[in-house]
Symmetry: C2
Subunit: 395 residues, 2 copies
């Protein structure tokens, strides 16, 4: 039902520019020769397009490599300094703004904790705009060379026009964050769910490298997921796909904070695990509490049983992902996921093997994430970068 709608001979050029740029970005320095081999373009076209890219300053030479006996091939790479990217992480406890170059090395960052004043929208917007100004000032970067700003937020983001955010956990109801931010900056704006940006980061630079179909499961206080279908994040009709945490694992089961019963999140998130632990020491943060639980499981049978049960639920949840999405890789991330992963993953894998269909299970590898929660910022910066690469460098 989707009508392709491609046109002029000019789009062709843009497409090929994009392909070259992308390939060069991910496969590091390459010669024109290798680019031709990999992309299928003729040597003539490569020469032509690369010449243009070099003239535009997007690509630069990166030394040469001998070629047994003949003219050495000159290597090419993306000019990391050609532009800047801004990544913003609006987390549950802080707002972090970072400036990157095109190679996504961090040049400067600011970090503001969100105190009990909570997530007042005006305040958060101000923090973002201030952070943006600060990182630009600190590095002396020229505003005109910032390719775009990516923002990761804890909530569902309606893509399009105003970039409206629905963030249940931070009490944001239909906040037109895009419109609000545009009052303070004219830079191109991208906003997405923080879990999705983290997933994107894992795909590009972490445990997801090379996979086409993957699910990045994010376990923190609650549980979320980022589904990668055919190399790109899957959003669904209203950008809320991948709400794995509220998958039902127990009809009529334990009450979840979303109001339903028997959700995965009612058993597996840090919050739920601590609530289920009768002997939880009072007054600890979730991080400390979870660490205590893991420690206690060494000697306390009740705590150990709790972890075993959690592993079974996690495994069943993973099995659902396998059955429904058939990914080649499932990556467990999020601060709690990374914490409980080493302890629970073997048992969870066993459970997943039982609950999933045999054939797709054998096709899936289950791994721990490689990037910590800080990667949300990198992932956010990934959004304008993706646009940059897709468009073949703006024009």
């Amino acid at each position: 039902m989707t009508y392709r709608r491609r046109q002029t001979v000019r789009d062709l050029r843009r497409g090929n520019r994009s392909a070259l740029l992308r390939h060069l970005y991910f496969e590091g320095p390459l010669s024109r020769q290798e680019l031709g081999r990999d992309t299928g373009l003729s040597a003539g076209s490569i020469s032509n397009v690369i010449g243009e890219l070099v003239a535009d300053g997007l690509v630069e030479e990166a030394g040469a490599v001998e070629s047994d006996g003949g003219r050495p091939r000159t290597l090419l790479k993306i000019a990391a300094g050609h532009g800047y990217l801004v990544g913003v992480d609006v987390g549950e406890t802080r707002v972090r703004v970072a400036l990157f170059d095109l190679a996504l090395t961090e040049l400067a960052a600011t970090d503001h904790p969100l105190s009990d004043s909570g997530h007042d929208v005006g305040h958060v917007v101000q923090l973002i705009l201030d952070g943006l100004a600060a990182v630009l000032r600190d590095t002396g970067a020229d505003q005109d060379r910032v390719l775009g700003v990516g923002v990761g937020v804890p909530g569902i983001v309606e893509q399009g026009g105003d970039l409206v955010v629905h963030g249940q956990t931070i009490d944001w109801e239909s906040v037109p964050l895009g419109r609000l931010l545009r009052t303070g900056t004219e830079l191109p704006l991208h906003i997405d769910n923080g879990a999705k940006t983290l997933g994107q980061a894992e795909m590009w630079f972490g445990a997801g490298r090379g996979a086409k179909h993957a699910v990045i499961a994010l376990i923190g206080s609650g549980v979320g997921a980022c589904v990668i279908a055919d190399g790109t994040p899957y959003r669904g009709a209203a950008s809320s796909a991948g709400e794995w945490g509220h998958t039902t694992l127990q009809v009529g089961g334990r009450r979840c904070r979303c109001g339903a019963r028997g959700c995965l999140e009612a058993y597996v998130g840090a919050e739920a695990m601590l609530e289920r632990w009768d002997a939880a020491p009072p007054g600890l943060s979730e991080q400390e509490g979870l660490a205590a639980l893991l420690g206690a499981a060494e000697r306390d049978p009740a705590a150990d049983a709790l972890l075993s049960e959690t592993a079974e639920y996690l495994g069943a949840g993973i099995a659902d992902l396998i059955n429904l999405f058939n990914p080649e890789r499932i990556i467990i991330g999020g601060w709690a996921g990374l914490m409980i992963g080493p302890r629970l993953l073997p048992a969870a894998c066993e459970a997943a093997a039982e609950y999933a269909l045999h054939y797709p299970f054998t096709q899936t590898s289950i791994e721990l994430g490689m990037l910590g929660p800080d990667a949300v910022t990198v992932g956010a910066a990934t959004l304008p970068l993706a646009r940059f690469l897709d468009s073949g460098g703006s024009p």
Copy 2:
């Protein structure tokens, strides 16, 4: 991570041909004028490409319509007689082969029941090839004008090379059906899961028309689903995505025929429902049994409770689909689904509202399918048709 790989100026033409062909196919007779407006191509190109298509016999004129005062516009449509399509349904109980024209009107069909001899591979292959020969003979259709053969099978199909089928329910283990069929015919071959072909048919001609993101849930003896993401069926890494029936709804719950516990299919499929019905009359077929159960629920509280429970499980399963895929539409199909739908859907929707997240639930409509099980054949014929349209008519 996916490197676009587009090339020559010739692909452009193919793309535009395809866009025109597709648009003409789905939006019925249109004038060149309207085609230009809808696809964005210039009048010159339209004229050029359409001229080619008419010369190739893919498109033909379909009358004219006056235009207040000026030259009347001539309407164009796909030439339904330009080629033939074959659809094959390898079901659990029969093998059906049908010949269609390009408009997917059925020209001839054969239907062979599969007796207890079961699904012996050689036998099935022979039935397909015989059926193919028969429909060609009956209609006098020229073999050279058959664009391709689509086959729907009950099992997972590895796309690529040999088109290997893994069909647990019919005892097919790694059957290279593609290779086997190619010994008897040289027509282009497409094989896919029967649930997916039925889903495709619903999307093109049934309850799914116009949706970009949808899930077609198929309830028969067991339970399956066809996930449509961005207008095309989502397969996952190994073509086994959408195994909704084995989603876990009850950790440690009822044993399912797949070996796991608490699967949706252990509660909602026809087989499971009858097994759970203590008062099931013996000796009935599943169809008759299910009808009896629905009848008994009018007066027997136990049967009524069984149906209510089933509705809750179905609702929870639907909620999982909503949370994970965020579709705009969920379509309940399959013979059992169509049978129990009118009775269970209201209660199931209520349950889904409870188990799903509020925001995506409000974005989703839940409907009954419009096509019966016979549509598997049409859906199968859809496979070569899709290829025909994508390629802009073979060349």
